[in-house]
């Protein structure tokens, strides 16, 4: 049996408590993951500073090189995993078997991580706006334009409370080690694979073991990460986002409510953008916060919904190994049924303002129940009003609402939006969108919501989260 230990600053620790990681289709136990307790984390965090000290023995340039090597090991290597080893194919198989994501999507996520890891220099240059990177190491330095700058790390380590259901999020913590900040990771119970594989890849590439801890465990461990790490990224639902809103120690990532919106000037050309919309909804089985969950248009909503439904409705579950599989499975019992019921109730109570358009193209029910998992088939709703909560909903599968809304009402009504792809050439409206603080990532033009440029910040710049730009002087300022 594959057993995966806790890593306490790189040192394996075998716990008395172990949690089974189970194949969602067969029930087979794929691994036993040793469980940490919160006290261990509290104890270990007393040595957090050592992680940054060790990483600062290397230059950021050297760590970028190690990161590129780690990328290769991660994508292509056979790496240690607990008391066994893991090939890239094993990784995809295991990740698929526990998260319900089709294997080809797991492989695509590996490539995405690889891309970010191998482009780390560009990523850091972009995120630091060209800052000489030794300033982050040393704490201060002179910019080429002759200005003294100082950046101070807010924390020697970054805590990560990782999710089980969305392997796509791991790109967010890839820049941390090259930034000479240690990692304290709490893997998602069903997705220990990426954190362990990346960690082993970093170790093999020469990153000191004492710079990364992995604490699989229960809710107390997650709470411990947040309590003891001065900076933590967490993933959760809207309640989690609300709980940590305004807390400078915690960056919470959750639903994105990402949208494509059509301006008055482009609404009549909607047919040109249907493929963009469909891809934005369905890629990665609609699980990501960057997947489009709403298409807002001042006109032609009914036709847009119908065209989307025609493309998405026929998509049905396929085996996880099928390269054409587009749907991920819901592996937690009752979740898919609960979501489906919620949608039905929302439609029923909408007084006719919300209708499901996919039904006629689906040839079967939305909820597909199987012996050990469930699926939800793509769902397109047409909303003639944006008053009801369902018109702004997001679910973790290809679900999209097409909302009729006048252009001048959209910003007011559509709420918080992680990625907004606005299809318009109207300069006045474009400026309004640029000024809207409810939008995080703004695309103006025909761009998929899922088409991220890694040189752009995502839900806040990680440099600003991890470092504090403060004043530093070692000579008197010019007289004034």
């Amino acid at each position: 049996m594959l057993e995966i230990p806790v890593y306490r600053w790189g040192k394996p620790y075998e716990s008395i408590e172990k949690a089974d990681v189970v194949h969602f289709e067969t029930g087979e136990v794929l691994a036993k993951v040793h469980q940490a307790n919160a006290g261990q984390l509290a104890m270990d965090m007393r040595h957090a500073k050592r992680a940054r000290d060790l990483l600062r023995q290397f230059s950021i340039d050297q760590l970028i090189e190690m990161t590129a090597k780690a990328a290769d090991y991660y994508l292509n290597g056979t790496l240690p995993l607990g008391n066994g080893t893991q090939t890239p194919a094993d990784f995809c198989r295991m990740q698929s078997a526990t998260t319900g994501l089709p294997e080809h999507m797991c492989a695509a996520n590996m490539k995405k991580n690889y891309f970010v890891l191998t482009h780390m220099r560009e990523v850091l240059e972009a995120l630091t706006r060209g800052l000489p990177l030794e300033i982050l190491t040393k704490g201060y330095g002179m910019e080429s334009r002759g200005v003294m700058l100082s950046y101070q790390a807010n924390s020697p380590v970054l805590g990560m409370v990782l999710p089980s259901n969305s392997p796509g999020v791991h790109t967010l913590w890839m820049p941390v080690i090259p930034l000479q900040i240690g990692l304290v990771l709490k893997p998602g119970p069903q997705e220990p694979w990426t954190p362990y594989r990346m960690t082993e890849a970093f170790f093999k590439a020469g990153v000191p073991r004492e710079t990364i801890s992995l604490y699989p465990g229960g809710g107390d461990v997650g709470a411990g990460v947040i309590e003891h790490c001065p900076r933590t990224m967490i993933f959760g639902g809207q309640a989690t986002i609300d709980r940590y809103h305004g807390n400078p120690r915690v960056q919470a990532h959750g639903p994105g409510f990402s949208k494509m919106i059509l301006g008055d000037d482009e609404a009549d050309n909607w047919e040109q953008y249907i493929d963009l919309m469909a891809d934005s909804v369905v890629m990665n089985s609609g699980r990501g916060c960057i997947n489009c969950s709403g298409v807002w248009s001042p006109r032609h909503g009914k036709e847009i919904a119908d065209a989307l439904a025609k493309r998405l409705g026929p998509i049905a579950p396929l085996p996880m190994t099928d390269p054409n599989a587009k749907l991920a499975a819901f592996t937690v019992p009752g979740v898919a049924e609960g979501v489906s019921n919620q949608i039905d109730e929302g439609i029923k109570s909408s007084g006719g303002t919300i209708t499901e358009v996919t039904e006629k193209y689906r040839g079967g029910p939305r909820l597909v129940k199987q012996e050990r998992c469930d699926y939800l088939r793509p769902t397109v709703l047409h909303c003639t009003s944006s008053d009801l909560e369902l018109s702004r909903a997001e679910y973790m599968y290809p679900f999209v609402t097409v909302v009729d809304c006048p252009q001048n009402e959209m910003l007011k009504r559509m709420g918080q939006t992680l990625v907004c792809s606005a299809i318009t050439k109207d300069p006045k409206w474009s400026q309004e969108l640029l000024d809207a603080t409810t939008i995080d990532r703004l695309n103006i033009g025909p761009l998929k919501t899922i088409a991220l440029n890694w040189l752009q910040p995502h839900e806040g710049n990680i440099i600003d989260f991890l470092f504090r730009n403060r004043a530093f002087q070692n000579s008197p300022p010019p007289p004034h």
Partner: protein, 369 residues
Amino acid sequence: MLTKFTGDLASKVKQAQDQLDAHVYETIQWHFSESTGCPFWLQKKKELKFDPLTEVKNFHDLQKFPEFEDEWLRGGPVTRWLPKGLEGKPAYVFETGGTTGIPKSRLVIEDHWIDYENFSDTLPDESFPRGSNWLMLGPSGPRRLRLAVEHLAQYRGGICFCVDLDPRWVVKLLKKGDIAGVKAYADHVIDQAVTILTAGHDIKCAFATPKLLEALALKLMDKGTSIEEVGIKGIFAGGTEFTPQWYRFCCEELLGPNVYITPTYGNTLMGLACGKPFDPADNYKITYHAPQPRAVIEVVTFDDYNKVVGYGETGRVKLTTLTKELFVPGFMERDEGEREKPHDKYPWDGISGTRPFHVFAKTTTVGVY
């Protein structure tokens, strides 16, 4: 059950069972006789379809009683639980829960003293030196634990130093998601403990909950000292958070080899169940045995609370209290665990792996202190 054991243990098991049956008979006679029983049970007797005085002769016969309802313990007058045979004695009332609504309460005269005196007999003197002072690092207010630990200290010839800790306030903070408030309150409690421990009171023994003990040990380490260095030799701790992994972590990393810790499992209704003596071969597995015959723990199936699970199997905790002050047949606890075999020191069933009952676990706030 008796046929499963052989030799000396079998005879001890039989002896314990006989003693329990006799104790049950005696307890029933006391609580259901007009001259000694309490108003609650005398009234309840009229609703029963059997006569406890003549039809309950052993422990098994207790199954004739309907399931004991939590609600019967809420509200007043609390004297409905006072047996006539004990009228006139000074009484205490202890509460459980109570974050919202009316808490469950139990009237006590001397049971908490008796329970903890019995528990005292199980403590090794080398780790809990007689005459030494104690720290009570647990809930205060209307809780039995505070007075019980204080009595334990006095019974062993010492003085007990206590902290202020209101667990209901902590639950309120947790329910509104005020994690910073919880942390600040925990710091406030630990500060009190550190002050006591570093004020020259010669404290060698302590009760603590796992969370507080952990926080105390870490705080002392931050101050460059340790539980051992401040003079503590023996600790008993309790709660479902006292897991085997935590036990090991505590022994190996928080306390070190020279501080003894023993797990206990208890509540206001039962008293205190002791842990089976530590055996390295158990790999920190924790097995509790109820203080029979005054209280009995059974591990019963989830669908039939009168059916005990097999040894090693999982079930819900069913508690029966059989003292002169309180009779509670078959109270369904909010915990579950695995049934364990009798032990030479405690020749009756035990329970291991205690944890919140899985049906309630998602909605229960546990381990707040």
